[in-house]
Symmetry: C2
Subunit: 283 residues, 2 copies
């Protein structure tokens, strides 16, 4: 999808949040914002929002000297998610519809997205489970379960650190030997990298690869040849989160997008209410 004018205030907010995460030096915060404001004034709205996100976070890394401003935050949310994991796993096991329950947890955990929001709530497991089970699940959940049951090559595109711990629950409902899990090629916002996948226990479960790119989404032209071969060969792509949706929603491919909708631009594009859990089929 293209970038919307409504994305601009969010870019500026995101840049300020990230700059503060990278350094306490207020002069650098202002230099970052100057860079981002100037870049935004010349941006190409035919590109998807993560292309600008990538540019913003490159500016921040370059001016702050920090490779990974969200490193501590990512560790914190991985630990938080690992604390909730056993109760969620139990809830899946006791459910009459374990696939849908695991799907709901994976979608609800997409709330851990510091690209879209400045603060993320951390409910304890009973509250997380209750919310995930009671929220509206918009879209094509049944079709997703059917396709997932028969797919031969499944590419699972992860989104954020912490969230990917909950993705384990959904992956555990899939034929593990057919799944390849994808993380970002380098740190950007709180998106999961290989280190986060190791910490989340995903590397012990399925094959993990990275996209080859530091965009907070999947910009195919920027991804590694290896990633693109896997993408082309997959008969099912599971894509988590807003950034992956924004970059892949127009690609001609069987993709199921699983996300929690955190902004009005995405809500309008999908045609659901902000806050919804979504499974959206394309291709």
């Amino acid at each position: 999808m293209k970038t919307n004018l409504d994305c601009l205030p969010c870019f500026v907010r995101q840049a300020l949040d990230a700059a503060r995460m990278a350094t306490a030096d207020e002069k650098i915060h202002w230099r970052v914002l100057q860079g981002v404001l100037s870049a935004a004034a010349e941006m190409n709205f035919d590109q998807s929002p993560p292309v600008m996100g990538q540019r913003i976070h490159r500016i921040i890394k370059s001016l702050s000297g920090s490779d990974d401003p969200y490193k501590e935050l990512k560790t914190h949310f991985t630990e938080y998610a690992l604390r909730l994991y056993p109760d969620c796993k139990k809830a899946v096991g006791q459910s009459n519809a374990p696939f849908e329950t695991a799907l709901r947890f994976a979608a609800a955990a997409n709330a851990i997205d510091f690209g879209a929001v400045a603060e993320v709530e951390q409910p304890d497991s009973p509250v997380f489970i209750e919310q995930a089970m009671s929220e509206t699940l918009f879209g094509h959940a049944e079709a997703f379960q059917q396709v997932a049951g028969s797919a031969k090559k499944i590419l699972y595109l992860g989104d954020n650190a912490g969230e990917i711990v909950f993705d384990r629950l959904l992956i555990e409902q899939l034929p593990l030997e057919r799944v390849v899990f994808v993380v970002r090629g380098a740190p950007v916002i709180n998106d999961a990298t290989l280190a986060d996948a190791v910490a989340a226990g995903i590397t012990n479960l399925v094959t993990v690869m990275d996209s080859g790119s530091d965009a907070p989404g999947i910009v195919l032209s920027e991804c590694s040849d290896r990633f693109r071969r896997c993408f082309d060969a997959a008969d099912l792509v599971i894509s988590k989160g807003q950034g992956n949706y924004e970059t892949l929603s127009d690609v001609d491919k069987k993709i199921f997008f699983i996300l929690k909708v955190k902004c009005r631009v995405i809500a309008r594009h999908i045609g659901c209410a902000p806050g919804s859990l979504v499974v959206k089929e394309t291709g």
Copy 2:
């Protein structure tokens, strides 16, 4: 007060809201944002936020050809406020503390501020009254009542259209012949101008003058000589809203600021929670 980096996302959001209010032409929305982003990248943070607000809204007027993008919205909120006025007036009359009740209504009505927020709720009168009476009233309400009782020359700086209808309730608690009410010198955001004061019925109550400036606040160096003489001569200035607070909080003068806090920057500066009703004394 100086401008904070946190004001930047809000400037961009405000510019987009206002551009859309001024014209349906998306090309002009983008030209407005380009102008605002470029101006923001060069801004002087020693100035108060309304100085940038003034610049933004001049850009919008110039590019859209609309003198008063919020005209219809201002009329709408004046009509809304006039519908609530009789019930609020009755509540003041029946109150054991009519001055504080009127003060609460005037402060709560400062929610009608499209500079600070993109959407404003419009509760009916029972809900408005209940909320205004139950919210925390932070600061120096008692000192304000004492000073107001003995002041000889009161300058009442209005803020937004619609809100000023509720200011009538507080003005009616003051010695009317000693009050001069001030509106903006030209349209900016949904701030009240002379036409809005006429529609609100204030011109029938007290002397009304304008500031001589199109800033969404009181930038003294830009105001008319006539306004500055009144400002200097007043022994009590009542200043409504965030924009007037931002431009006058550092001025050496007896001022009581009355506002509803709509953003974290102001909440931090005053030392209260976002959402609070505030009466803050300076000078």
